[in-house]
Subunit: 202 residues, 2 copies
């Protein structure tokens, strides 16, 4: 074994010991309130990656899409066509708000979505709920942030996971959440004239 390999292996052994010790303290299981926000990519797609994991593990799950309603997204077709029993899929909203240009209709759609979301979160047969793009509805005050946070903190069943996605998450939601990830944009090809593409963006 050469020097660099020996040093590396010793270092890795130390890291493993520290990690094992740290992981011993991680014993609690509980349903998490998770937020994916920020201007970067990956907020919705990582939510759907978790849905894939849930289906694989036999964890019953549900999706409520708040904003991308009338888009033919890959995830909607995929889950509706192939996993209708494993994952319930609801759509509320009719595209981004600058597409509809009708605030009253947007508010109605958001409120309808939130009613469905509450039902799914409270449902004993659902353990993981993805509220896709709900942050947009909260940002424009289509939904009352205090009501949403209060429900998540006090009525969500203890073991149910809820993921809330969308940019500009409200500070109240970030405060209430267990796990918050900010997706930042380091580089984006839109700037160079590349359009949204299948598989990547939708």
């Amino acid at each position: 074994m050469d020097d660099i390999t020996e040093r590396h292996n010793a270092k890795m052994k130390k890291i493993k010991a520290a990690r094992d010790k740290m992981m011993e303290t991680k014993t609690e299981e509980k349903g998490l309130i998770m937020v994916h926000t920020g201007p970067g990519k990956g907020k919705s797609s990582s939510g759907f990656g978790m849905i894939m994991r849930c289906i694989s593990h036999g964890i019953p799950c549900a999706v409520v899409q708040f904003i991308k309603g009338n888009w033919d997204t890959g995830e909607k077709t995929f889950l509706r066509d192939r996993f209708p029993d494993e994952c319930r899929f609801f759509v509320s909203g009719e595209g981004f708000t600058w597409e509809t240009q009708d605030r009253d209709r947007d508010i109605m759609a958001a409120k309808k979505g939130w009613e469905i979301a509450k039902e799914q979160i409270l449902d004993d047969e659902v353990d993981f709920v993805l509220l896709d793009e709900i942050n947009i509805a909260l940002r424009y005050d289509y939904l009352d942030i205090d009501e949403v946070v209060d429900f998540l903190l006090h009525q969500k069943p203890r073991m149910t996971h809820v993921v809330l996605t969308g940019r500009n998450a409200k500070p109240e939601l970030i405060e209430a959440a267990d796990l918050v990830t900010e997706m930042s944009l380091v580089k984006h090809p839109f700037k160079d004239g590349v359009k949204a593409q299948k598989g990547v963006e939708f």
Copy 2:
């Protein structure tokens, strides 16, 4: 219509016009080099969310997992069991490097993974390739960053998308990429003693 609604609708109309104009300039389609990095969650799971979109759109895809080799991840079981034709799944590596504590074996596994990765990227029948956790192998110099970047820039077929995940992406890779997202950790429940849970972390 009340004042606030009228103002809102006018504002949304203006945003839509600006957006439509902007989108008109986005006409190019090309295979992208995409990087998901940073200490936050969602780097791998958003890659798998994109794989879900690809399968749904009929885009043939492949995954090479560099580091999480011996974990029974939900995504591995899901794709291997249910979509063996739609998504090729390769594993190279035997767990995080602090688990194996054997640098030579890690290097061999990484190099084998990279050979598979190149084959898949060059394959005419594959249009989307996810190189999961390759950044870890690059960070420890198990793979040569110059060789990887050179291959991506000069040998990758023009229309093939490649996603590279893992924290601590090398500056050379960020420079070469079309789209880079940094996942930042705003809050993490590990700090409060909550352990990694099915569906969420794997």
